[in-house]
Amino acid sequence: MRRLRAFGAFWYDFVIGDDWRGAAVVAAAIAATAALVAAGVNAWWLLPVSALAALGWSLRRATAGKN
């Protein structure tokens, strides 16, 4: 069980890293894009805008209070 947990922790750190919120925003944006496409809207713009906004949000959180 301990090794399984360590294995999971390794992959979490490997892919997601320091800030899970960026991954959550990307996942939510992909789901929203798929939903919009299913509704007939070609929402090509949603994911790039969300990813770059997520980066900005994550950077802001990482640097807040460090000046």
Binding site: V15, G17, V26, A34, W44, N67
Partner: protein, 268 residues
């Protein structure tokens, strides 16, 4: 789409990881002993080859749209992580990756550790140090090469980029016999972060059913836009640091006490 961006991205990403692995291998080999170091490196390479042999063919069996959805999402998340670290380093909020410093710390730890023999391994410390270093850095190489290659149905070209990077870094490392401290690691990581994020976003959206305006040519907009956004974040963060440092400099010059330097994030 041409294979050149694929090969170049994998090459640069793999070169960065190979430089980091080289630092660890050199510290183990030069401080402890080469035989156990090479054994550790060899076993790690066998494990990586096994991962490639199992995962590589399996990825080619998955239909392209679901593959691009999953791989694109993973690459976008992974790329954003690289880009975030590179922006924080470029703007001074995180220490730059210092191969010379890392090498010195590894050497000090290797010199302090005792020697123990296990089975066919003469120096267990050198073996595990080399094994872990090569395996962990190698996994990133394998991850990038396989996901990038599979999404473009060009695992062969991705392998060419990865192999070329490892060969170049190994040859230079053998010639120099020191950590490759002059390699502009952060700029390379910034570039790779931009490429991984851009391609990840492109493929994930395509996997979600989006039809990109201009098809593959959309990447000619996405990549520069991501690059500009990254550079923009660096500029904004640098200015914020300078603006915060200015009153401190005035206070120190007039004999007051400033809040002290910004503590960078822990090195990962």
């Amino acid at each position: 789409m041409t294979e050149l961006p694929l090969v170049l991205t994998v090459f640069v990403a793999c070169a960065v990881e190979a430089v980091e692995a080289l630092t660890i291998v050199l510290a183990a080999g030069l401080t402890r002993e080469w035989r156990s170091t090479f054994q550790g490196m060899g076993v790690a390479l066998v494990v990586l080859a096994a991962v490639i042999a199992i995962v590589g063919p399996a990825l080619t069996l998955i239909p392209l749209q679901p593959l691009r959805l999953v791989v694109g999402a993973l690459l976008a998340v992974f790329g954003l992580q690289w880009l975030r670290k590179a922006v924080l380093r470029a703007s001074g909020y995180k220490e730059l990756h210092d191969e010379t410093g890392i090498y010195a710390r590894q050497v000090a730890a290797a010199e302090a550790a005792g020697t123990s023999r296990r089975g066919w391994v003469h120096d267990w410390y050198a073996f595990t140090l080399s094994f872990k270093g090569v395996l962990l850095e190698g996994l990133e190489v394998v991850f990038i090469a396989l996901t990038f290659g599979a999404s473009q149905h060009s695992i062969g070209w991705a392998a060419v980029g990865a192999t070329a990077a490892v060969v170049v870094v190994t040859v230079v490392g053998i010639a120099v016999r020191a950590p490759l401290a002059r390699v502009p690691e952060n700029s390379m990581k910034f570039a790779v972060g931009v490429m991984l994020t851009s391609f990840g976003v492109f493929w994930a959206a395509e996997g979600a059913g989006v039809a990109w305006p201009g098809n593959d040519a959309a990447l000619l907009i996405i990549v520069p836009a991501t690059l500009l956004a990254g550079l923009g974040y660096v500029t904004v963060l640098r200015r914020a640091r300078q603006a915060a440092a200015a009153p401190v400099a005035v206070a120190v010059a007039s004999g007051g006490h400033g809040p002290g330097p910004v503590r960078p994030e822990e090195e990962r």
